[in-house]
Symmetry: C2
Subunit: 211 residues, 2 copies
């Protein structure tokens, strides 16, 4: 790669880093300003356009990166659990560690999932879907769950874990503990219920899985 392209890449990275860095509990993508991001990245506002067409384009890149980070982490967590122990438990732990060490990345996904940009919402939804799919495959392979049930179950699991993560952000250690215990109970409910439905045969047929 040429010297030119290298430098450009470095600046692009600086922009992304600056943007990530400005995220916080009280600051979301939608109220980052191009000028401020450029300032922190050490370039002139107008130079921003050499790298992104828009703040929206910058944001989409951030969503993609954040989603990728989380997904890779979770995959690792699942592998780690592969040898011994419950996968679900390991996944929760991994997820909670992620939230704890990258709260702003998590907030990013959380917020843009219901944000004002359709493109962002779609991007986050896509990330979460990857997520559900991987867990669903895993459940099918590991517990022989019927595909439709596996998907519904995975979706419910992910939804609850995600939601708990969101709530955890504003809680102290002790409250988090109570939240985590409740979450475990809820996931257990789903596991038991799914098992029961699977056993009860093919009564509830679910054909319409999303593509």
């Amino acid at each position: 790669m040429g010297i030119r392209a290298q430098q450009k890449e470095r600046t692009r990275r600086a922009l992304l880093d600056a943007a990530f860095n400005q995220l916080s509990a009280e600051r979301s993508i939608s109220n980052l300003s191009l000028r401020e991001v450029a300032r922190e990245a050490g370039i002139a506002p107008t130079s921003f356009y050499r790298h992104f067409k828009d703040m929206e384009e910058l944001g989409l890149t951030m969503v993609d990166e954040g989603g990728l980070t989380l997904r890779q982490l979770m995959r690792k967590g699942r592998q780690r659990a592969e040898e011994g122990g419950s996968v679900i438990r390991a996944s929760i732990e991994t997820f909670m560690e992620f939230i704890d060490s990258n709260p702003n990345v998590f907030r990013l996904l959380l917020r843009e999932r219901s944000g004002t940009s359709a493109a962002f919402r779609a991007a986050v939804t896509r990330e979460i879907r990857h997520f559900i799919d991987e867990l669903s495959d895993y459940l099918q392979a590991k517990t022989g769950r019927r595909p439709d049930l596996a998907y519904a179950q995975s979706e419910a699991l992910v939804t609850l874990v995600f939601s708990s993560g969101a709530e955890a952000l504003d809680l102290n250690k002790k409250e988090r503990q109570a939240l985590a215990e409740r979450l475990i109970v809820q996931l257990k409910m789903i596991a038991k219920g799914s098992e029961a439905l699977q056993r009860s045969g093919r009564e509830p047929e679910l054909e319409n899985l999303p593509k």
Copy 2:
């Protein structure tokens, strides 16, 4: 009430209505502008301060109103189901009708739940908690569920329904149908699982999660 107070109330209402009116899929509370709201309400920007200290105060009022609306609706839905039919099914239907006819109020709650203002987040969380509590009481009374299980179950139900509602916003009729069917399956899982846990009698053991 004096003529003066009446007029003041009317203007205040106009501000709130204008604000609600400007909410949409691509516009959230945090990017409403004081000036624009005042404009639509038909008053000068500076007159805004006669009614609210802040846009934040306006927003909090909106969250409270929105939460109240939803809660009243759900209570009615539950009553309606009281005579005949599953409560859960009736609640879902009521909820989905709400989303369909007040999408922006729902979006308001959805967004501010993870928004950039701690006060907003707390307000929405409080609304949802009311919600869970009412459902939990109902489940205890109706199915004799143990309090802790009833709460965990209610929380899970509300989380899943809320989340489905959020997803439904971006879907067409057919996709919504599939989503609703999946949601029913998930709620069934929880119901069955909760029942099983109640039967098994003891405190939930963390070690028994399926692999």
